[in-house]
Symmetry: C3
Subunit: 364 residues, 3 copies
Amino acid sequence: MTLRIHEIAAAIGADYAGDGEILVVRAAEPSSAGAEDLALAMDPRYREALAQGNARAAVLWPGADWQALGLQAAIFVDRPRYAMAGITAGFDRPPEIPPGIHPTAIIDPSAEIGEGAAIGPFCVIGARVRIGRNARLQGQVTVAEDARIGDDALIHAGARIGSRVVIGDRLIMHYNAVVGADGFSFVTPEPSAVEAARASLGRETAGATPQSYVRIASNGSVRIGCDVEIGACSTIDKGTVADTAVGDGTKIDNHVQIGHNVTIGRDCLLCAHAAVAGSSRLGDRVVLGGQAGVGDHLVLGDDVIAAGATAILSNVPAGRVMMGYPAMPMDRNIDAYKALRRLPRLAGKVAMLEKRLAKLEGKS
Amino acid sequence: MTLRIHEIAAAIGADYAGDGEILVVRAAEPSSAGAEDLALAMDPRYREALAQGNARAAVLWPGADWQALGLQAAIFVDRPRYAMAGITAGFDRPPEIPPGIHPTAIIDPSAEIGEGAAIGPFCVIGARVRIGRNARLQGQVTVAEDARIGDDALIHAGARIGSRVVIGDRLIMHYNAVVGADGFSFVTPEPSAVEAARASLGRETAGATPQSYVRIASNGSVRIGCDVEIGACSTIDKGTVADTAVGDGTKIDNHVQIGHNVTIGRDCLLCAHAAVAGSSRLGDRVVLGGQAGVGDHLVLGDDVIAAGATAILSNVPAGRVMMGYPAMPMDRNIDAYKALRRLPRLAGKVAMLEKRLAKLEGKS
Amino acid sequence: MTLRIHEIAAAIGADYAGDGEILVVRAAEPSSAGAEDLALAMDPRYREALAQGNARAAVLWPGADWQALGLQAAIFVDRPRYAMAGITAGFDRPPEIPPGIHPTAIIDPSAEIGEGAAIGPFCVIGARVRIGRNARLQGQVTVAEDARIGDDALIHAGARIGSRVVIGDRLIMHYNAVVGADGFSFVTPEPSAVEAARASLGRETAGATPQSYVRIASNGSVRIGCDVEIGACSTIDKGTVADTAVGDGTKIDNHVQIGHNVTIGRDCLLCAHAAVAGSSRLGDRVVLGGQAGVGDHLVLGDDVIAAGATAILSNVPAGRVMMGYPAMPMDRNIDAYKALRRLPRLAGKVAMLEKRLAKLEGKS
């Protein structure tokens, strides 16, 4: 990938100065940037690192004196992280998936594959599947019967798409991700210990007559919007009767679990190991930090944010930032945590007060 | 799938009223149910939703006035969740796996495959493997040498079964699940910092001379009972000398980790992201909520229940309901949590008491 | 596998007594050991269990009276766990992967496969890949373009290695593990609610104008040292500009997540479900217990140990043992936890003190 400075500036809508014809082959950290690299130094604190490297061109903070920094060209950005999207897209090398359908791929005759599709070796595409235009399946992918995938999908090796799953356009699905396994739903013939414990907040587990579980099948499937990305080894289960649903623009990291019947809004962000238990509903733009969990049958409003490792065990109104186990509003959680750190000292102080008080009482 | 009302009622052992010959094609939520759907309205609070939909037939609570609800037929159930098992089973559409062995499957000549088996494309079955009757392997599955699987297994794409694993009848294994990877077991030549920290509860990490780890191999394998279900991307590791073991009827959700040498009883329920560390023993009917963890070398009695995200770090007697990190009995954990929320206020009150006491002391 | 007592003793550098020519076929627990087994009884508390079994040979604690225990041969060890490494290695049965390249494997003509490699069925090896000598790929493995793997790799079925990943010698990679998926990195055009919440510790989420995410591509890849083991279903993401890096000798359990740009030192131990968020740096010999998490952009010094389920949300100096959520030094966390258990009682005591104080104040 070789780009000119003026091309990059145009692509990200930024101004540049100096020799716009300079060619760069990749973005690099300032201190290790070579003569062919574009150094990323969007903050004055990278000034020194820039001097250590050999970059001729860099992305700088607004107003930076690029000539004094020894550069021959510079691009100026005021929202560095957003600029990164454009810059890394420019240098991106998409997976090499040869065009056309690989002769080893097994595609049911009733499946419809859109124009321009590239389907790699050892893929298995089931009956009546429909895949849109320009799909790229890297190889060793499974798409089970009756699934439908929109245009421009990029699906990496080992990804599995279950029967009747429906996905919109521009899906990105990473290695070994799974959409459309059966929901985890079992029931005992008579009320079980878990039901008793839930009803009594743990005080009772009576009625624990040994019973085996009976399976509730997943008659529903999964419905996913457009522009959704699903990380490696993540799983989204089928619904029981209706479909599990994920809205447009939602991004899902690795090892994420989305249980049966869950509904997730649009433009949500679910970080690694986040889990949403069965039948919960998340609004739009909800963010779950890494390892955060949401219990079953809960409702989270729009714009709820959960810090990493938060365990949400009750409904959360829109716009709230949550933290802790069980989750509290983040500022209260931080106060409680600070108080907890000082708690052993507080207990000592109370013991001392009691002694002093007893002494006074003895006198009076 | 098309079923008559009287067929469904008979299958779930329930009474029905009205026209038992009505045909339905699927179960549906009451408000969105069409004329060919069986509305699920097992609670009076669905009365209004039923009116919004167009169902002609519904599953209702006992004693419901089905005619007043505008229905032509109704099935009556008093344990709705249990009825769901029968109803969803009726409408279930099992994975389409063509009968017989797909020509691309690679099966070692020494393997024995039972009568009626369906083995999909690109499966790899190792030497001396034995698979029971009517197994259905969806394709792209691995069964390594010397593994044995009982009758009626259903194994989804990407599942991996390691060498010498033994599994009973009626296994269900979901996409990309793994049984029989090596245990995670390493040792340093001299005692390590972790060993010192454990022995001293974190006060000491002395003796941290840099050392590299040496591997302890997994001579054991995994032994799994009958009627076990293993969720997508879940893992059960081999034992060191003896086998890791999972009892009959135990159900395992997605992303669950069962470490080496672990023993799990029968009819347990391990929800998504639950993890059991090496050599721990769980009794029968134990339930681990989502993201719950059990430390290594622990013993959990029968009927123990751990709420979601619970971290169990010591033994738990039978029948106890646990919650928190580290786990306490659930009712104590809830009390402690409530007190924690009020802790900043308590600290303020103690400071105030101290002032008042000092004032009194000054007087006396 | 059949070994003589004197061979095992020599392999683990231990003394033996009795008939060194006795043949054993496997290691076993003392109580269930048969005449052909080597009983593992490295502690006097196994004395009785030994008597229950039928072992003729055992591994014993130093100075044990092997003849009184009814044995014909004994090996003596003083660090049992370390001895286990040698003993289990002796009895280990490595995966059966026939030598040579399986005819169904698809290997790009530009790939270089080292001498002695065994590559199983349905593997897909991309353009310009280089794999070292004696590699063993079990089948159904993906190695994407430009990846490089050192000598003596053992890679189990379903493992995926992304483009441009570089791995050293003696890699062990388990079923369905993933190295080199894209990092999880997104940005909104304008500052988002998450950015506001982070800056204000959760007090503000203002500026939550609905926005969709733009993707930051992963121009970097992953660089892994020698002697690294990667557990089943674990994931290591590519870096944004530089490579995500894992040092020599580091061992990674199942379901572990290592985010983009993370740097992990040598000889670290990451237990199941541990997660390290983007751009954090771990020193050498760091140990993360099961389900432990490290937030993004943090620095953990050498020899840091995190107990299971610990959530590290700020930097940690070298040598510290951490526990809790958020993490505290372990001893402080234990003190705080004990105080938390007693907190409801403490609150009651404070209320009582207040009453007594008010009474005194009334008198004075």
